[in-house]
Amino acid sequence: MLRNGTGTGPAGDLTSPAGTGTSNNVGSTAEKASGGGRKPRRSPAPGPDRPFLARLRRDWPLLLMTLPAAGLLLVFHYVPLLGNIIAFQDYSPYVGIADSPFVGLSNFQWLLQDQSFWDATLNTLSITAFQLVFYFPVPIALAILLDSVMWPRLRLIIQGIVYMPHFFSWVLVVTLFQQMLGGAGLVSQILRDHGGQGFDLMTNPDTFLMLVTAQTVWKDAGWGTIIFLAALAAIDQNLYEAAAVDGAGRWRRMWHITLPGLRPVIILLLILRLGEALNVGFEQFFLQRDAVGREASEVLDTFLYWRTLTTGEWSYGAAAGLVKGLVGLLLILVANRVAHRFGEQGIYKRS
């Protein structure tokens, strides 16, 4: 490692005049030892205690790299975040945000008195609850099943198959379901051919909850196994061996080793799901709203769209969106605190 020493520093620093006091070979804590170390003033721990300009000189390429993404997030995330101010206004696009009159909380008052808002909320929550029972366990069971396949080739093939629908669009998934379960779909067709009666699950509001859950299972349950498979792979195999030697059968080993091993991941995902209780997906419901009707299929996001974007009541829609976002944030924070209480890690660590 004698080749370079400090002779040629990082490209960016070559142009800067010498004598800034800091070495050119900066930027990493692990670097030391190798670089010749001619300059006595090279600080061993590059960090906040260095002068700002020196750090800027060292890190500007990193900042430059981060800039485009930061800019995009700033414009397309943070600016509209500020745009939520119209929730407190009587906003009109012809007047603009700056000149629209402030109306306090009246948009929120309307919202809370709006029956269709509460209907949408109720629909959303019942879909979340239903899927918590009938969707959430599916990837866990599927992962355990896949993990028990001992022939690696076969396992890889099945994994490849069950992951795939995750990459299909909702338009595609709904279309496929329509072709299978719709009025002219395959199943009704077979039933009719055998003298039975056809049916149309795609337009039946009573079975809509089951239909959307089945769609979600079909599309995402396979993909959902990935995280559980990773957790399963991390379980110490010696535990299984010890249990087997002690005479524990297959099912007891699953109950006493596999499931406890999955516990942190299960709790983490449960928290994430609860934090997302108000998000059940948008396109899936948007696409099927016409077919099954508003009563069964209106969720908060579609409510937002139909109630505001199609009518131009921007302020009202922003208020509804803000309420949804804030309640969602609150749910995540609460769920995370609960996780900490149970001694689990949660989505962010306690600092």
Binding site: G27, F52, L62, H77, S169
Partner: protein, 317 residues
């Protein structure tokens, strides 16, 4: 390169059971009945995914007579024909939609990947200038989204309504993807990067020459995520594109297949007195197949990287 393997995120090796090995010796083999039940369940699960796709593709390739005889989706291969595809690609709505979707997908994926990889590297060194506030800025987007209405107002005030950029720019950076790549970058041994720096390489060069070559898998997977996102983009197009001539494939798919609207394809050969006919089932299923094809094509190449890089990165991130 031996470094390739060493740069993968290290996982505690599982004792006893390497991923390829079969049943460990202490495990009693399952009963034949249990084995049969398991096999049956697995076969049913696989069929539930494969069968609908198979029927759609088969129907799209069948002649009109075969479809009529089947009375709907074709399950048993009969006479095959490419007529539906020839009709769709003779120009018209679907041809245009495919071109639009391909253009948006390639442009968007390239832009997203470049921006995301750069930022992931830029944020991969704790202690660098503004590292914490910038990372915080990215992570906050996980917790709280701005909402549909302000998004729409922003896009419209930027004059992007009816512009294809409205389907690219708002979704160009995904915080999740960024964090996954960043986690992977941070697992690359520091010595590799340091020795390059000692050799005089700048950050861009290090990223291009050292970091990216060992990160092909994770970049491929994230690229797939982005590409699929753009290819599947549906609602943003409904929201931001009023001009139906600009519609991407997913919107066309919904219009003509899900809602069964009439479709002008080809050189108006299928119109009667200027009125377009409703599309035949074979044509509808060809549109579905076209929407499926890119996913089916790219997917196998990327699949093997899924568990390796991405998930581990996601769990750690």
């Amino acid at each position: 390169m031996t470094t390739t393997t060493s740069a993968r995120p290290a996982r505690p090796r599982r004792p006893a059971r390497a991923s390829g090995a079969g049943r460990p010796s202490w495990d009693e083999p399952p009963s034949p009945a249990g084995r049969a039940v398991k096999g049956l369940i697995l076969a049913l699960i696989a069929a539930a995914v494969v069968f609908p796709v198979y029927m759609v593709v088969l129907t799209s390739l069948s002649t009109q007579e075969t479809v009529t005889r089947a009375g709907g989706l074709v399950t048993v291969p009969g006479e095959l024909s490419l007529a539906a595809y020839q009709e769709l690609f003779a120009g018209g709505v679907v041809t245009r939609a495919v071109v639009v979707s391909l253009a948006i997908t390639t442009t968007g994926t390239a832009l997203s990947l470049v921006v995301t990889v750069l930022a992931a590297y830029g944020l991969s060194r704790p202690g660098s200038l503004f590292h914490r506030p910038l990372l915080f800025m990215v992570l906050v987007t996980f917790l709280f989204g701005p909402g549909m209405i302000p998004n729409y107002l922003l896009v419209s005030s930027l004059g992007l309504i009816d512009s294809y950029w409205s389907l690219i720019l708002p979704t160009a950076v995904s915080a999740f993807n960024l964090v996954v790549i960043r986690a992977f970058f941070m697992n690359i041994p520091g010595e590799m990067i340091d020795s390059a720096r000692v050799d005089g390489a700048g950050e861009f060069r290090i990223l291009w020459r050292i970091v990216l070559p060992v990160s092909k898998g994770v970049v491929a997977v994230i690229g797939l995520f982005y590409a699929v996102g753009y290819w599947n983009a549906f609602f943003n197009a409904v929201l931001y594109l009023n001009d139906s001539a600009k519609w991407p494939l997913q919107v066309v798919l919904r219009q003509y297949v899900l809602q069964g609207q009439s479709l002008v394809v080809g050189q108006a050969s299928d119109t009667i007195a200027g009125r377009p006919l409703p599309p035949s089932l074979a044509i509808q299923m060809s549109i579905v197949t076209i929407a499926l094809i890119p996913v089916l094509l790219i997917y196998p190449f990327v699949q093997r990287h899924f568990t390796k890089g991405v998930i581990i990165g996601a769990v750690k991130g």
